[in-house]
């Protein structure tokens, strides 16, 4: 799947859960850069991403999700 398409879907997930779009979808984006992306919303975001891409993260995947770029890479590796 194309990177731009994956990012678009992630962006929609973030917007639906955080209810804002004050973030830029560059590879270096981390949770710290985004308002409301805390430990509570993190689990919700991951679950929603799993649904959207019909994938399931492994426990080992979770530590690799350092920023948007690595998130996209992990999603690509699962499809």
């Amino acid at each position: 799947m194309e990177t731009t398409h994956i990012k678009e879907t992630i962006s929609q997930v973030l917007q639906s859960i955080l209810e804002h779009n004050n973030f830029e979808m560059n590879d270096e984006l981390t949770a710290k850069d985004v308002d409301g992306w805390d430990s509570l919303s993190h689990m919700m975001i991951l679950t929603k991403i799993e649904e959207a891409f019909q994938i399931k993260f492994k426990l080992r995947d979770l530590n690799k999700l350092k920023n948007l770029g690595s998130l996209v890479a992990v999603i690509q590796s699962k499809r």
Partner: protein, 498 residues
């Protein structure tokens, strides 16, 4: 003091072994000893001899751990200051504890307006691990916990308290040796961190910490698997997070898996026992006021375990603690009757830091086994069975009054979990817009139809105990101590009126 002579001996005997693994970097006991010695020189040079309460910026690095030992060897107490906490809270703590000097390993000093001493890049001095002379009454640390009134309250722990704890810890059958690899998952502002670094250091074992920017539960799993950890003390919340992935976890190296800080449900523990097939699993209990923990229960595999509402018993007193369960008038209740758990013994804090009002409220003297004994009221509702095992029933203040009836929130949680096949749930009492108390229920799940659940609860519970509102979250938020943040969950119900 024996504690520090033992620590000195342990470090000296282990110089070539690893003492810490921090953010994938290993440090030997020799490295550690060198940094401790260097920081001791800095302390002597820059801190007034009579200045005993020293602030410590809690970074996840070797300098911060070495600072703790250096302060102790100098007979001084540390007061942890988490740089990620709100400035306001840290300043309150600094003022309350009369802190003048702060040890800081940050690249940029956090509190430049105080006598901050950088512990980074001090030049090497001769090794010096010889403890200075300290008395049992000298403070080892002061940890500040949130107070009900909003001002943090300080719990000072003396070297005598800490020695008493360590002696009791060794008396448990959870032996640490120089070959062990031990988890330290706690923020240094949480007192479970103290046993997590001190016990391994006293035995020449290696301490594995968690970098601050990592997701705790998944990082713990990787440490367990990649470094074959053998000893881990965790809060039960970690299990709730890991539960969805239990089938991916198999750690035969784990020898001791301890839990503390929250109620430990039996069903999760049984499932976890398959992830750590060779481990002794234990539920330890204790408030900061009684030095880290003071009661212990060893989980029995393939055997009946004592529970109340699905929560594992907290077992019996450790050797340096004596407990009683009392009614509102401080009279001991009969076997099996609920009451407030009270603790006494050498691990008990001398009292909250400069807070006489609170001290009068929670500490009291009572004749116990023929001796006038000082007790601490834990606020935990418990009962003891005929074997002396103590069952945790809930917080005294989690007990809510709904329409005049006493409601034990853990009971609602228990029945909810039974109905929902292992899903995690928290029951909360919250004040609604007309100032009535209602029961709210938060379920760790995607939204679903709750009719079946409510039918089940209506079968099990009186009407007044049935939750009036149900919310769903994908994961429970944790507070800085890694416990389920009940306050944040309560806001799910109260914020809608704002």
């Amino acid at each position: 003091m024996n504690l520090f002579t033992n620590l000195q001996r342990s470090i000296n005997n282990s110089l070539k072994s690893n003492a810490f693994c921090i953010n994938t970097m290993f440090y030997t006991y020799a490295d550690f000893a060198q940094i401790i010695s260097n920081i001791r020189v800095a302390i002597k040079e820059s801190i007034n001899e009579n200045d005993s309460n020293i602030g410590l910026i809690t970074n996840d690095d070797i300098y911060t751990y070495a600072s703790i030992v250096a302060l102790w060897l100098e007979g001084k107490a540390y007061i942890p200051l988490n740089p990620e906490f709100p400035l306001d809270r840290n300043v309150t703590v600094i003022n309350q504890a009369n802190i003048e000097s702060i040890l800081d390993s940050s690249d940029t000093i956090v509190f430049s307006e105080f006598n901050s001493i950088s512990t980074l890049n001090i030049k090497n001095y001769e090794l010096n691990l010889k403890p200075s002379e300290v008395s049992n009454d000298t403070l080892a640390y002061i940890f500040f916990t949130s107070g009900t009134t909003g001002t943090p309250k300080g719990v000072p722990i003396t070297f005598g308290n800490l020695s008493g704890f360590i002696e009791a810890q060794w008396a448990l059958d959870y032996t640490i040796t120089a070959e062990d690899r031990c988890l330290q998952m706690f923020e240094l502002t949480f007192d479970l961190s103290v046993v997590s670094y001190l016990a391994p250091l006293l035995k020449g074992a290696c301490v594995y910490t968690i970098p601050k920017d990592e997701i705790k539960y998944s990082y713990i799993f990787e440490l367990m698997e990649d470094h074959e950890l053998t000893y881990a003390l965790m809060v039960p919340s970690i299990l709730h997070y890991l539960r969805a992935y239990f089938n991916e976890i198999n750690c035969p190296s784990m020898k001791y898996s301890l839990f503390c800080g929250e109620a430990l449900p039996l069903d999760v523990t049984e499932e976890w026992s398959k992830c750590v097939p060779n481990a002794t699993i234990a539920n330890v209990y204790g408030p900061t006021e009684c030095t880290i923990y003071c009661m212990d229960y060893t989980f029995k595999r393939n055997c009946e375990n004592k529970t109340h509402n699905g929560v594992l018993t907290i077992g019996k007193d450790m050797i340096n603690t004596s407990t009683i369960i009392v009614d509102d008038n401080n009279n001991e209740v009969a076997i099996g009757e609920p009451g407030e758990l009270c603790l006494s013994g050498v691990q008990l804090t001398p009292g909250y830091w400069q807070n006489e009002e609170k001290n009068k409220e929670v500490f009291f003297y009572k004749n116990h086994n023929g001796k006038e004994t000082r007790f601490y009221r834990t606020g935990d509702l418990c009962s003891a069975d005929k074997d002396g095992d103590v069952l945790y029933l809930g917080r005294v203040d989690f007990q809510a009054k709904i329409q005049g009836f006493r409601v034990e929130l853990s009971e609602i949680e228990f029945h909810t979990k039974s109905a929902l096949n292992k899903m995690n749930a928290v029951a909360l009492a919250f004040t609604n817009v007309i100032n009535n108390t209602e029961v709210g229920l938060v379920i760790e799940s995607k939204p679903m139809d709750t009719k079946q659940l409510l039918d089940y609860l209506n079968e099990k519970l009186p009407k007044y105990m049935i939750p009036t509102q149900i919310k769903f979250v994908d994961g429970f938020p944790l507070n800085t101590n890694g416990k389920t943040d009940r306050n944040a969950l309560t806001q799910l119900f109260t914020n809608q009126y704002m």
